[in-house]
Amino acid sequence: MKKHLIIFTIAVTACINTMAQARFFSSIKVEYEKTTAVRQLMKDLQEGNSWYEQNKDRYPVSVLSYYDFVGDSTKSLYKPGKDVPVDPRMWWRPSGDKNVVYNDYMKGVTISQKPVFEETFLMEDSLLKIKWKLTSDVRNIAGYDCRKAVGILKDSIAVFAFYTDELMISGGPEGINGLPGMILGLGIPRLHCTWFATKVEVFDVNISKVTPATKGKKTTRSALEQTLKKLAEEWGTYGSKTLLNFFI
């Protein structure tokens, strides 16, 4: 019994020692790999349509793209990263994939450059508001234990995020934010997209280049949404689902 107690105490002490080494970082650089499940997306967009069944082979199963996130607990910049060419023979072209999102967490402001078809918008507004529910599911992403949170965006779009307490930035891919730590994994089922961090740098991160994009037609979130909504009505379900890309 006594022996057991000693072992237990040693174990606990060892644990606490490692515990003391829990490190928190406040400036980081993250590379995200975004996976779009194109066939699933197209199937969804063209639900009940024989067109999809006939042509599914012309769509890639999934497509990868990369994004870089640089920032600290006050501000961050998310922008397209290394380029992966899309097979020109495939029938699919990404949309809403070139957003440059600058978030100022102190002022609660975002400045996002969003190329939408022929126009490039510079949207300045408050940070995207998401209703988050925390869960206790944990998943290790890029070496960090991340807690799963489920968010509801615009009262209808479900967002699944994995964030870590150890990175003290409330950001994530695109404009997704508002969790008590950095989002290293994100899934938006409606868009059939996931983002997962493939690289996280915490030392010597140069955040001097974290400045908002300047080019684009100035707009607000509601004005942009109004513009897109009008379009969505013209396009029916296909369009409205596609246009979701620009809301995040």
């Binding site: 829990a22 012309r58 939408v116 078809f117 150890e166 969790l179």
Partner: protein, 919 residues
């Protein structure tokens, strides 16, 4: 003990319903050594739905403060890496100090407090989705029993369902309403095993779906998504129209699908059009067009679906029957699929036509007029089969077999006259004919495609074997009366011949294509093809012997030969794919050898051709939604065997054709450019393109007209200097929601055409330009109309008749509109006007104004039925008309078309969806 301690509820105070904001503070400490846990995350969750309200991080001393918290009940949630989560109920009623909050390292915990979300349940927007297989039900259970197992569902004895506290008023199966609005029909008859997912969402009426507003009192809708292999069902459409006298227009479609098997049948009977199915019906029945990817051009193209049995080729009054069936199936995880179809067409036409022609000769103008009657019956049986096998992820095999059997029987008469330059009749002719043709065509194609681990490397080989059998027979009687210069009857001539034709052609070909990536942006496409065609053509003419039978051989108009054609061709194209530029450059070369064996005189002749087909293309995307392209394509134009053989054809004795063995190979340069831009947000688009064709050694005609008899003989001849051009411009803009669309169109074409008449070169310069704006307004569920006026100018000038003016203005346009009236009534109308200025060549002019209108009433559930009273061509003005202006003639061709009729039409479509037989 410690675990329990962490989840003990500390505060149980009554909340005061006053909204006020208070700070919440405390300190985070380690249970073991009371160490301060810096940077621990402290979150406040709303207790009723556990959404995150606010969060903070602990300071170096472990203190935290959440400054402004509304009065209410919360869950305090603290996390720290490698420590167990701490959760505590918290009611904020005033400034709250929680004191020390102790965290426990995970290593001390035997298990953790977990609120797991079941992966069997997913939330998708406002929809909750249950994966059916995750909920165990007994064998043979119905959907009702499955629903009882789902969290949040209750089903009472009457079968009424409640989901998430609300009454379920609608059950859909795969998104479609299952047998009306009684939800129990679906749930009690469908097998639970067939269900893939169950989705629950708010029921919204059509109005709410438009506005997105809900009143909160709606029920729930349950959507049962079936497993792929459990899908069974059918749909059909019946369409019948009649005027209770002369006209019918009817159609029936039926489609049954079970698992991945699909069977479709259709039948049509009409005498107002050619009876072909429209695109929508074809799509529904799965009579799909085939798509192919052309590695050389880098584009997809589609083929199939077009034959003579469509409205475009229709001349005269139709009487049509069509029928067909299709079977398709997929198995082995869709790796193998088969598609079989049969189609029958029977199209009878009768026509009375007039062709008025002004012939332009170096010495003056002559006229030939023709009045004809024609009765034709065309029939076709087409069988198509396709089998595809995806051998593995890289290799696939495809076999396509197509067999078409066509026969036609045509009888007719032609009455013609030829009027000379002095306006005297030179000849009068009467012709009657009775022709039967039969063609049996079989085409087999086997394609093997191999992909490789290296991206974009590909190898594809196609083998092709085809047989075409032709058998024609025809009796042709022509009597011609010739007149002398004084208009007096001179002499008569009669041709009364039977012409028999027997032909058979077999083709064997192989084509293999390699695609090799050279770098991330460059690619080489290389192909080689070999083709061998052997054909036999026996064409013999007979005249009546003394016994009145056609048995006297006429060697002048008979010809029997065999032809062997061998060709080798190869193409190499370099293709560049960049971010904003796509380009390709390369060329094809081919050699063709024709060995002709004339069986009549046992002579053989050989022809050798060498063809080159250079091409270059560049496609730019300077910015989003804008596309610019430039293409060049050079093509060798090789004469056909019909053009090369020095044979005479006297089917029309007054227009006799003869081949020309001295023809040279021609070459065609084509340059085209396009510019497309579509601004999505502004809903504004510009589409423009232009092209020019320059021809070297173009094959045209050498005409000789004997003015004393009116007889024309012609043969093909090479000529230089022919060219043509065209452009097309279109601008469209929507002025916004519930506002009109406007558009502008501007297009034109023109060129130079050279041929020969009576030894003299005749050259025509011509162009047509037209301007057509359009305007439309569409208010959903109220009315819509579209209006497109047009005006054009047609210019032509022949070098033979410089003084003759054949220029004219054409104008008119179209209108279409419909109005939704009460009681599900709808009124619609279209007007098409085609008017033109009279030209000097003809005394009369043809102007058309076609006005159609209909009123219809929708009926039955989901508007599945519709009754329409339709009036076609109310002004009884419809005629077929084409005008051709050429350097040697100007011609107006008129033929019959269906004109005024009234139809009472009834349409009904039905859908019977999955699983009704699965009791």
């Amino acid at each position: 003990m410690i675990i329990k301690a962490t989840i003990v509820c500390l505060l149980c105070l009554f909340t005061v319903p006053v909204i006020a904001q208070h700070p919440v503070k405390g300190s985070i400490k380690d249970t073991a050594d009371k160490k301060d846990l810096q940077s621990a995350v402290v979150s406040l969750l709303r207790s009723n739905d556990s959404t995150l309200v606010a969060y903070s991080r602990a300071t170096r001393e472990g203190h935290f403060t959440i400054p402004k918290v509304d009065t209410g009940s919360y869950v305090l949630f603290v996390s720290y890496p490698r420590y167990a989560d701490y959760m505590e109920k918290l009611v904020v009623n005033g400034p709250t100090d929680l004191g020390n909050v102790f965290m426990t390292p995970k290593s001390k915990l035997l298990d953790e407090v977990v609120i797991r979300t079941g992966s069997a349940i997913r939330i998708k927007g406002d929809t909750t989705e249950f994966v059916a297989d995750s909920f165990k039900v007994k064998e043979g259970a119905t959907v009702e029993e499955l629903l009882k197992k789902l969290p949040g569902f209750t089903v009472n004895a009457k079968g009424e369902i409640t989901a998430q506290g609300k009454r379920v008023d609608k059950v859909l199966v795969d998104g479609e309403e299952f047998f009306g609005d009684d939800p129990t029909m679906a749930t009690q008859n469908l097998s639970a095993k067939a269900v893939d997912k169950v989705q629950v969402f708010e029921t919204k009426t059509e109005q709410q779906q438009l506005t997105g507003m809900t009143t909160g009192s709606e029920g729930k809708t349950v959507n049962i998504k079936l497993k792929e292999d459990a899908k069974k069902g059918s749909f059909g459409k019946i369409y019948a129209g009649t005027d209770f006298n002369k006209y019918v227009d009817s159609k029936g479609l039926y489609n049954y699908f079970a698992d991945k098997k699909k069977i479709s049948t259709y039948i049509t009977r009409t005498n107002v059009n050619a009876g072909s199915l429209n695109w929508e019906d074809r799509q529904k029945l799965g009579i799909e067009n085939d798509y192919e990817y052309d590695e050389l051009s880098g584009y997809y193209f589609s083929f199939g679906g077009s034959d003579d049995f469509n409205d475009w080729n229709l001349r005269g009054i139709p009487d049509a029957w069509t029928g067909g069936a299709l079977f398709s199936n997929k198995w082995n995880a869709d790796k193998q699929n088969v598609n079989l179809s049969y189609r029958y067409n029977r199209l009878g036409t009768t026509n009375i036509g007039t062709t008025l022609t002004q012939n332009i000769l170096p010495t003056g103008l002559t006229y030939s007029n023709k009045y004809s009657t024609k009765d034709a019956l065309n029939q076709q049986h087409a069988i198509n089969g396709k089998y595809e096998w995806k051998i593995d992820s890289l290799a696939s095999l495809k076999l396509v077999v197509a067999n078409t059997i066509r026969n036609s029987h045509t009888t007719g008469t032609n009455n013609g006259e030829f009027i000379g330059t002095t306006l005297d009749t030179i000849n009068q002719s009467f012709n009657s004919y009775d022709t039967r043709t039969e063609r049996n065509q079989l085409d087999n194609q086997l394609t093997y495609k191999q992909l490789f681990k290296k991206k974009n490397r590909q190898w594809q080989t196609t083998l092709r074997y085809g047989i075409t059998d032709d058998e024609n027979s025809g009796n042709n009687f022509t009597s011609i009366r010739y007149f002398d210069q004084n208009g007096m009857f001179n002499y008569a001539d009669t041709v009364d011949q039977q012409k028999l034709f027997d032909g058979r052609s077999t083709t064997f070909g192989i084509k293999t294509t390699f695609t090799e990536p050279l770098s991330s942006t460059w690619m080489l496409v290389f192909d080689y093809a070999y083709n061998n065609n052997h054909s036999k053509s026996l064409r013999n003419s007979y005249e009546k012997g003394l016994n009145g039978k056609y048995e006297v051989y006429v060697p002048d108009f008979s010809n029997n030969f065999t032809l062997d054609a061998f060709s080798h061709s190869t193409n190499a194209i370099f293709r560049y794919t960049g971010k904003k530029i796509r380009a390709g450059i390369g060329s094809g070369i081919s050699t063709v050898k024709l060995d002709l064996d004339n069986l009549d005189n046992n002579t053989t002749s050989s022809y050798n051709f060498f063809n080159v087909t250079p091409q270059a293309q560049i496609n730019l995307t300077p910015k989003a939604q804008t596309n610019i392209g430039i293409n060049y394509r050079g093509t060798t134009r090789q004469p056909t065997i019909n053009q090369l053989q020095p044979l005479r054809d006297n089917t029309d004795p007054l227009n006799e054709y003869k081949g020309n063995p001295d023809l040279k190979v021609g070459f065609n340069h084509n340059i085209s450019v396009f510019y497309n831009q579509y601004k999505v947000l502004k809903q504004e688009g510009i589409w423009a393109n232009a092209n020019i064709n320059l021809q070297q050694n173009a094959i045209t005609q050498f005409n000789t007209i004997d003015l004393s008899t009116g007889k024309r003989t012609y043969y093909p001849v090479n000529v230089n200097g022919n060219y043509n051009w065209g452009f097309w411009f279109n601008y469209n803009k929507s002025l916004g929601e519930k506002k009109p669309n406007i558009g502008l169109g501007f297009n034109g074409n023109g060129g130079r055409f050279i041929n020969f008449v009576n030894g003299q070169q005749a050259s025509t310069d011509y162009y047509t330009i037209s301007f057509n704006p359009n305007f439309g307004l569409d208010i959903e569920e109220k009315f819509s109309f579209n209006l497109g006026p047009k005006v054009g100018y047609n210019y032509s000038k022949s070098s033979l008749a410089l003084t003759n003016n054949n220029n004219y203005i054409s104008y008119g346009g179209w209108f279409e509109g419909n109005i939704d009236l009460p009681w599900k009534l709808e009124f619609s109308s279209t007007i098409n006007a085609d008017l033109r200025q009279r030209i000097n060549a003809f005394a009369s002019n043809t102007n058309l104004v076609i006005w159609n209108a209909g009123i219809s009433k929708k009926m039955f559930k989901k508007d599945a039925g519709k009754i329409t009273l339709y009036a076609n061509d109310i002004l009884d003005d419809n005629k077929g008309f084409t005008r051709t202006i050429n350097s040697t003639f100007v011609s107006d061709d008129r033929f019959q078309r269906i004109s005024r009729y009234f139809l009472l039409k009834f349409e009904w479509s039905f859908t019977k969806n999955p699983g009704m037989d699965k009791k």
